[in-house]
Structure formats: structure tokens, C-alpha cells
Amino acid sequence: MKALDRKLMRDLRAMWSQVLTIALVVASGVAGFITTLSAVDSLALARDRFYAEARFADVFAGLKRAPLTVADTLRALPGVADVQTSVEVAVRVEIEGRSEPIVGQLIGVDPRRPARMNLVVLRGAAAAPSPGPPLADGSIPAWVSESFATANQLKPGSRLSALINGKRRTLLMTGVALSPEYVFAGLWGMPDQRGFGVFWVDHEALAAAFDMAGAFNHLALKLAPHGDERTVIDGLTGVLDTYGGRQAHGRTDQTSHAMLDNEIKEQRVLGTLLPSIFLGVAAFLLNVVIARLVSTQREQIAALKALGYPNATIALHYLKMVLVIVSIGWLLGLVIGDQLGAALTRLYSDFFRFPSFEHRVAPWLLLVSGGLTLATAVLGTLNAIAATARLAPAEAMRPQAPGRYRRTLFERMGIRHIPTSLRMILRQMERRPGRTALAVGGVAASVAIVVMGNFLRDAIESIVDTQFTLAMRNDVAVWTLDPLIDASGRELARLPGVTAVESNRYVPVTLVNGHRRERSQLRGYALQPELYRIVDVNRRQTQPTGDGLVLTDRLADKLGVRVGDRVQVEVLEGRARTLDLVVDATVREMMGLNAYMNRPALNRALGDGDLSTGFMLAVEPGREAELLDATRQLPRVAGAFSKATMLRNMQELSARNVRIMSTVLTVFASIIAVGVVYNNARIALAERTWELASLRVLGFTRAEVSGLLLGEMVIVVALALPLGMLLGWGLVHVLAGALKSDQFYFPVVILPRTYAWAAICVVGAALGSALVVRRRIDRLDMVAALKTRE
């Protein structure tokens, strides 16, 4: 081995603590990048693969009842490649010993007409044409959706009961199934794996039970290669109108797809923006640290030059040193990122069900993360070496000429009584403003990313709190099969434990302004809502008092309407009608694209009487299960949902993912912060060893000398903290803006504890570094230091 390479190894070993912390900074940046992006990438890959293999349909529609021959008419529509019909019915399902209500989506499978799209994949079993006809004991064999089976611990052989057209029938689970239509399982756009299940049963048995022989009530459609979705949906609606056709829609409005798509989009923004900022900050810090590290080796570089080593060889030597450090960090980051990415993917697989869902780290992720870190490291090194290499060796070996110090800004401003040591610190910092700025900037950047990592958790908590504490103040929501006379609410008020009832009316609609159309649900709330309210991002309540609409601001933007404009409202329930309504107000909500009115005004506009489709109940503490049991006896109730369950579902799934990701990023950010502060301190010490030793010789005490160095650190940290918090606040705004989607408006909420944690990380790192530096100063060999210098 060449002597120069030996020096490399020894130097690396001697600076192990710095090598380690710099490598950790790199590793954290890379790991954050790889973790999130590889997980999202794997999710998108699994989706694309499943959609292709299971031939996911492009357009979907429900209707009351149409003869099978209608399908032929639909196939002939321009732009249509294929149409597949089915019978699908939502029923109430019960599992013995469970009080929570369950909605079951029964889907008929016809062995004589094998599916051509939305293929059902059986888990752990060979493909079968259908679950088979009812057994001798009357039970109906059923394939059960995987998420529901897993959440309720069902296995083949498990029995459930279902209320099929008024009759209680037994469903016998014979297989676990997956479908591209139900990758995500939930109700009302919220995940609910326990409360919502899909059951594939024999088509004939289902058709017989609901009088659907020779008919269908659901269809899926594949577009021809250049078919236009809008035209096809219009054509479809035209044909199906006669058969009670409702809500023909494309993939964008398909619940599972929309949730999946939204998640991928959101995570891609999070997974791209956040880790990119991380990697960028890590790279910047790496550059700063490396540049200073190399410049502390000034004398050694000069000696090598004097011996006749050319600049290129010396540069290569330091490049190797840096590459070793960065490579360690990069590899470590890859391993950690791969592991955490796989863990995040496993979390996704609880949420989204695919036949195969493997975690992979795409080659481009390796290239980008490796390229970016290596490039900045190389740049930082070359910069630092160039500065030394430009010097003639004789000059480099000579101690640097005394710097041009002058009175500090404070002194020039007339503040005279500054202690000598503080004056020395301030003059030192002011003389090299570039270096001071980099040190402050580096620490500030690390404060900022700690704030940013934590922000997601703050935001989710704020969303959950606003939604579940301020907006929904009910305990249970009851939905009816059809609109009911509001007096039915009184029946609910008599149920056990109910203390208050508030009625709502929900109508599926399409909002139209010119050529812009948005499907939504028009929600009729109480005039002065108490239990179910509209609350904006600033936690203020809006009341739908007038005769017009209140729209989520994002929905108004999408429709291109402002307050005072008129909107056409196409009613998708009962007979087709179009209402002409004025936008009374817009509200900036955190979740969803919603349209509101007050219920009496909505009923008036529809020309209906006092109708309701949902009832919000307040329940005495501890009596919820009893109440939920009681609602099952009511024939017209479609389902009753406990807020506690919804909250739990939200906390367990979507919120959990964000929280875990936020925690991971916060840990990485904290490591970066520690790495930066520690290296800053170590390098400052290396740069000033001679000066400090001279002061010791002059009779300064250890404490005084340490104070000079640590005082600078204190000032840097003190400047960096508020600056970093400000920077973090700015980055959070950028992030929130980028995360804004149809579904979510991320509120810019940074809790005090987030700022506190960022401060604790940095101050803690500074204290730790101070201890190490102090120990080194205590061991400073004055004589040796002075003997080797003029």
C-alpha cells in the first residue's frame, strides 16, 4: 500500500467520531429519501401490476334493474370496448359476538359467464369459476375480501349471517379474495376494515334472492383505445336513465381507486419533497463540514506539495478520504432506507390489498441519492483543496498572516463595555462572515428539518382533532336505506342512552358550472347544527343559514365559481332534476370536497317534505354498544356508525402511517442536527488549537480558553435557533402548499412542542459537543503546540 493511502486509513481512524457523525448525516438524508420514495414506488408498482393483471375497468355504473339485453346496446356505444354486468347488493352482516354494525357488499359471480374485467383473485387457492351454489343446509358459500377477513379474524369455514332481502341467511366463507375494485376498503372515504366487507357469492342465488334473474344492477366498462370517458359516461347515462341508472363514473370517482390514487399522490409529494429537502440539507452540511475539515489539513497539504506531490494527487487523496466517508454514509442510508421502506410497505399492505406487494428500491433511487451526495461531497472537497493548492507551498506552510481584525459592529455603534473574551469572539466571527454564516446556516437548516419532520404529525393531529372533536360532536351516526320522514328521528331519541338527535339529509349530486362538473354529496345540515358542524382550518364554525350553498373552497375553485355565482345541481337520487342554486359562502375545510345547505332549505329546493337520510346521535357515556345493538332491530336503518370506531380506524391506519413517517423523518433530522453541531465544534477547535494553546501559555485558564471556543458555539446556536425555526416555518408552508389536494388541505400547524424538540436536539448536541471539546481543550499540549509553530 502506498504511504499516502496508509495516511488516509490512519487519518480516518483518528477522526472516527467525525467520520461517524458525517456518515450519519449522509445516511439520514439518504435513508429518508429511500424509505419514503421506495415505499410509494412499490405501492404504485403493485397497483399498476394488479390493475393490468386483473383488468381493472374504466367506467362504473349502478342502476335499479335492467334486462341483460341492455348490455348489448351499451356495447354498441361509441368508445366502448366491453361491458360486464353483475348483480351487487349492500346488506347488513353480523358476526356473532360483535355489536358494531357491518356493511357487506354482495357481488354475484356467474360460472357460466367468466369475468373479463375486475377479475377476482383467490388468495392461496387455484382460480375457481365461482364460490358454488347454496349448500343443502341453506348456507351460501362466499369468498370474503381479505382486509375484512383479516380484520375480523375469519378463516375459510367461518360463518356469518346476512340480512338478504329481509331474510337471515348464513354466509359460509370458502375463500379469501382480492379485487382491483376493493384494493382499499372503507366507508364514506374513511378506512374501515372491520365494518366493511365484500362477499362474492353465486350469481344465481343472489339474483334469485333479489329478483334479478336475467337482469343486472351494476356494470363495469372498458373504454376502447381512443374512447373518451366523458362521452361514454354521457351515452351510458342516456341509456340507463330508463332503468334507474345513477352515478355512472370513471375511475377518479371509484372509491378504492380514488383513495389509492390520492395516497400515492400525497405520499409522492411527501416522499419527494420532504426527503429531497432532507437530502439537499444533508448535502449542504456535508459540503460545509468537508470543506472545513480539509482546510484544517493546510500544513499537511503544504508538506506534501513541498515533497513534490502534484496538486492532482493531493486532491485525489482528500477526495478518497471524503468518498470513503460518504460511501459509508450512503451504504448505511441504503440499508436503513431499504429496511424502513420495507416496513412502510408492510404498513401500506394493511391498508391497501394487492395479490403481490413487494418492496423494491428502484435503481433510479440509488443513482439519484448516490449521485447527489457524491457530487456535493466532491464539490466541497475540491473547493477546499483548491484554496490551499492555489497557495505556494512556502506560504501554506507559514502560519497564516494575522487576519484583518477590526472593531466589531457593536463597538463601532458605540457600545464600549464588552468583556475582552466576548470581544475576541465577536471580532473572530465578524472577520470571517462567510464562515460564520455557513455555521449558522448549517445549524439553522438542521433546526428547520427537525421542525418539518414533526410538522406532519402536528398537522394530522390538528386534522383529527378538528374533524372528530369540533366538527363531529355526535357519538353515533345512523344512516337510513331511503329518505325518511324526519319524525322517525323521534323513534331514535327513545333508544337507550340517546340524549340528543340531529337530522341530516344527504343527496348525491353533480354540480355543474358551464363545462365544469363535479360529483359530490349535497349535505343538508341542521339550521343551527350542534352535533354535526362545518368547521374550517382556523377552527371556526360556518352555519348554512341561507337558501343557497356553502362550498369547500377547493370545490368552488374547481367549479370556477365565487360567492354570489349560480351553480346547476343535478340530483342523482330519485327522479332526475336540476336545481339552480346560489353560492352563499365558501369554507376552507381540511378534508373533502363538500357542498352544504341547511336541511329545510334543501328539502324545499328538492320539493320534498321534511325528509332525512341520517341522524346524528349524542349518547350517554358507556351505553354506545347497547344503542348500536338496538339500531339493528330497526328495519329502515342501513347502518349505524360509532364515531369512536371511525376515529380508531383513522388513527390505526391513515394517521398511523403519517405518524410513523413523521417519526422516522424526525429521527433522521435530529441525527443530522447532532452531526452538524458536533462537527462544527470539532473543526472550530482544530482551526484554533494554536491560538488557544498560546492563550494558555499566556496564563489563561482552561475555563477561559474553553469559553472562547464554546462562546462562539453558543452565539452560533443562539442565532441559528430562531432562524431555523423561521426557515422551518417557511418550508412547512411550501410543504403544505405542495400537499394540497382535492381531498386534503394540510393546515399549517406547528405545535410549540415541535419547536421545542428542534431546540432540544440542537442544544443537546451543542452541550454534548461542548463536553467533548472541553475535554480536548483540557488536554491541549501547550508546549508541543507552540514548539511546532512560530
Binding site: K7, A392, P393
Partner: protein, 231 residues
Amino acid sequence: MFHARGLSKVYRSGEVEVHALRDVDLDIGRGEFVVLLGASGSGKSTLLNILGGLDVPTSGEIRFGDQRLDGASEAELTAYRREHVGFVFQFYNLIPSLTVRENVALVTDIALDPMPVDEAIDLVGLTPRRDHFPSQLSGGEQQRVAIARAIVKRPEVLLCDEPTGALDYATGKLVLEVIERINRETGTTAVVITHNAAIAGMADRVIHLGDGRIQRVETNAHKLSPSQLSW
């Protein structure tokens, strides 16, 4: 070997302009032992740095054999140092992370025709300590490593900047003996700068520098051996 005409060097140190050399003419022959004598700030280090290709003059001409050193490029100076010059500095300038052997090997790795590393170490009498790190050596030993490192490439000229400056009396003499032996046995030209007038006795020629100029030149009819010196 060296021919200098009208050498001048001006430094900017902070806000001050320093005339380190003013119009110096100098010739040094092959195998000669020259001592540059002068007080601190007399310009002797500057002259040595220019002779060694560590620095270039502000004006004037300097040649090593046929090679012009003034106006030479960085790469040319690097090659010049690498092939022809051995340096010994007052503060040794060893690489602290390398052992004695490795510090010497640092040069053999890049030299054209070096002597074996152990031979150079033997020449300075450090064989027993060749696997020690600089921090485990005394100042004299460190300086001898620097000398070994300087001679291992079989340089044509050995340039020593205050080689005894940081050493005690006895150790200093030991180091001078080594330099003298190299000069005598290998015919390497030696240029030693010092502010210690006593050392002048061992030189072929003594050049007195002051205020950046050559004040006078003495030639010793009878060179003394280092053991005969005292200060």
C-alpha cells in the same frame, strides 16, 4: 548549479508590504556546502524557498542548471521539487499519521530513482526506531526522519531551513553531522540556512544576508567538522 541574477521578492503580509529579497545575485556550485547566515527577517528563508521551487521571485532570474525556475508553472515546479530537491524544515513537517518508514516511503512512492527506504533510515541512524510515529520521537529524531525523507530520493540539492533551530545543542550537532556526511559521501549540494553563526565554520562558503541583500560572502579555507563546532 544555481544561477541567480537580480532576484527580488515582495510579500504582502496582512496590510503590510515586505521586501524580503532585493536584487540578489548568487551562484552555487555542484557538491558545495553553503551556509546562508542572517538574522530573522534577513530574507534567507525566502531565498531558500525560491531555490527549492516552493516560491517564485517577484522579479529577477533564477536557473537550476539549464532550467529556469522563475516563471515556471506550478506543475514544472512540482516536478522540479520531486526530482531534484530534498527539503529539511525547522519544524520537520512530518505527517503525524505515518511511521518513520512510511514518512520516508511517502517520497519513494513518487521519486524516479530512490534509494531503499531502510538505507536512508540507516544513514540517519534511526533503524531501531523506524516503526515509530512522529509523536513517539524526540525533536532530533524527528529532524533526522525529515533528513532521511529528504535524501532518500538521491536529490541533487539538499535545502535545510534552520535544521537545528528547534533542537538542543547535542541533538543539533548530531543533525549537522548527518547533513555533513550526506554532502561529503554523496556529493549532494547542501544549502543550510541558520541564524547561528557558529555553524558557518563547517561550510565551504558562508553567505551573509541582511535586509534582503547579500552583505558579504566568506570562503572557508579549512572546513570544520560539526564536532569541532561550539556555540
